[in-house]
Amino acid sequence: MPRRDARRYKWRSALIVAMVGLPVLLLTSGITLLATSDISMAESIPYVMGSAQARISDNGGGRMAQSPDGRSSRSTQGGAPALAVPGFAVGSAWTTDKVQKVTDGRVIQTSNATMRVTLGDRRPFMPVLRIDARDPLARGMTDLVSGRWASTPSEIVVTEAGITKGLPSGGTLTIAGPGGKSRRLTVVGVATGLTEYGQLPFLVALPALDTAGLDQTESGAPAFLVGRTAPLTWSDVRRMNNYGLLVQSRQVFLNPPPVTELDSKVAQTVVPYQNGNDLVLLIAAIGLFIETTLLAGPAFAVSAARQRRSLALAASNGAEARQLRRYVLGQAVVLGFVSAAVTVVAGVLLTFAGLTWWPPLRDV
């Protein structure tokens, strides 16, 4: 009888399903998001650091503490000056050599910039990934599709994303500057590319590409990729923080330290990615419970009241208390089960669809 009832009263059942189901839907998409945001930290490794052990950038100040993903940081010890690097003047700019002194291994430079290019009568700004892409450390960040990598500052590689924006896949490309001054670069290859935040660069060029005098904005100081056999551990990261360096380490991305090991102020800014999740889930579950009892409960009670006559009729036809209880419970179970099953699946699917079609969600 419960199944027939649910079948017969589709809309009332649908209402109850929705009332129980919507929060379950939100909860499951939340869980899915959290689950995938854990993965996305690991997934971001290729475009943050290519094949390197770490990506290092100058945090522009004294000693600091950072989050495992390097997205947040703050200066520590009352802004005490950074440790000096032996052989380099205090406060001198970071170079591959200076970074190498701290990290060991092999160090190359990379940065993201925008350049103004001439496309017919348009002169749009386009993002360019600046790296010596011939270096194996760049693999994953940018990979060659056809042609070859740029080997001189007068050569450039366009990405597939760039081609969809109208860039040529061969020939020459004019980089336009103010005052009619311009420079012609040879397009020598086509590549794939991802930048630090998962955006698509349209061009890949050597850091040495001489852009002086051309319209160009650097989006951030140069960063450094470190190639070495030993992974950079969380304690390595914290040690290097004392030099004022922000470190995004492959090892740490794959195995983030517990939130308890973070600087307390930094920890507050970090999206809980471990124990924190349990708390989030607990809160969500409690909310779900309250919602269900407050909204779905009465809805269910109303539908139960409407069925008092049915129940009385069943009783006058010899239904025993046991059978009546089973009927009422059965309905709760049928609807509850249906809504839970439907929405858990829907929540997971919707979230994955969202992740696929709406990229900002990936940053959650």
């Binding site: 009888m1 017969r8 009729l313 009783a315 006058s316 036809n317 010899g318 239904a319």
Partner: protein
């Protein structure tokens, strides 16, 4: 009658409440319903007609006296036995809301059988026979809201007498119907009794009581008269009303 009755009420009383608020709804009523017999119960509002019917169906227990259905004393039964009695021996037809709206006609009729543990398929087959007997087998798959009031009451009668159920207790089954439809429903009830069932019919209308073999007239919980000749029912009603 030489056969034992399907329903026997032996000096039955029912008092609601206690002491000064006590209402004597039924007072020493004795009544028999035999197989093949339709007995009508008439009387003014509050005279105890529904109380009588509920006692006969085991929905209520007498304060004193005996209610015997197919030889079993209802007063001595446990709740489970009572439920079994209502599944197997008798069925109710009320004024309205007789059918469970989420079940089709056939499923409604099959309900007591299913509650009794019969497999769905078998219960539905038996239900179809019963629907056939009230002349609406073709409505088996309709839901109540897609049936007329008269059709719904016929389904209720079919359910009251499905399987081995032999006693139908009808409390103003035509109360919500126009007189023509009501007449048709009573004809069905009459036919089912002619086919061997026992029927107890509560009605306000002498015209409907005319379908009965006997009319029992209740007033203030007491049987004030009984007649075996239906044509006199109307005059009985008149004389009682004049009292």
């Amino acid at each position: 009658m030489t056969t034992s009755p399907i329903l026997l009420l032996d000096n039955v009383s029912r008092v609601h409440g206690h002491d000064e608020t006590a209402v004597r709804a039924l007072d020493g009523v004795t009544l028999e319903v035999h197989a093949g017999e339709l007995v009508a119960v008439m009387g003014p509002s509050g005279s105890g007609k529904s109380t009588l019917l509920n006692l006969a169906g085991g929905l209520d227990q007498p304060t004193s006296g005996r209610v015997v259905v197919e030889g079993s004393d209802v007063g001595a039964m446990s709740l489970r036995d009572l439920a079994a009695l209502r599944r197997r021996s008798l069925g109710f037809v009320f004024q309205d809301f007789n059918l469970i709206p989420s079940l089709t006609a056939a499923e409604n009729v099959a309900l007591p059988l299913e509650l009794d543990g019969l497999r769905v398929g078998k219960a539905l087959r038996i239900a179809l026979d019963s629907l056939e007997a009230v002349g609406i087998a073709e409505l088996a798959d309709r839901y109540p809201e897609h049936m007329s009031g008269g059709q719904q009451q016929r389904v209720a009668i079919a359910r009251a007498l499905v399987g081995n159920r032999r006693l139908v207790l009808a409390d103003e089954p035509t109360g919500a119907l126009d007189s023509q439809t009501g007449e048709a429903v009573l004809r069905v009830l009459r036919a089912r009794c002619d086919a061997g069932a026992g029927g107890l019919l509560v009605t306000h209308e002498a015209r409907h009581a005319a379908w009965a073999d006997r009319v029992v007239f209740l007033r203030d919980g007491v049987i004030v008269d009984t007649t075996g000749t239906p044509p006199s029912a109307e005059s009985l009603l008149d004389s009682a009303a004049a009292v």
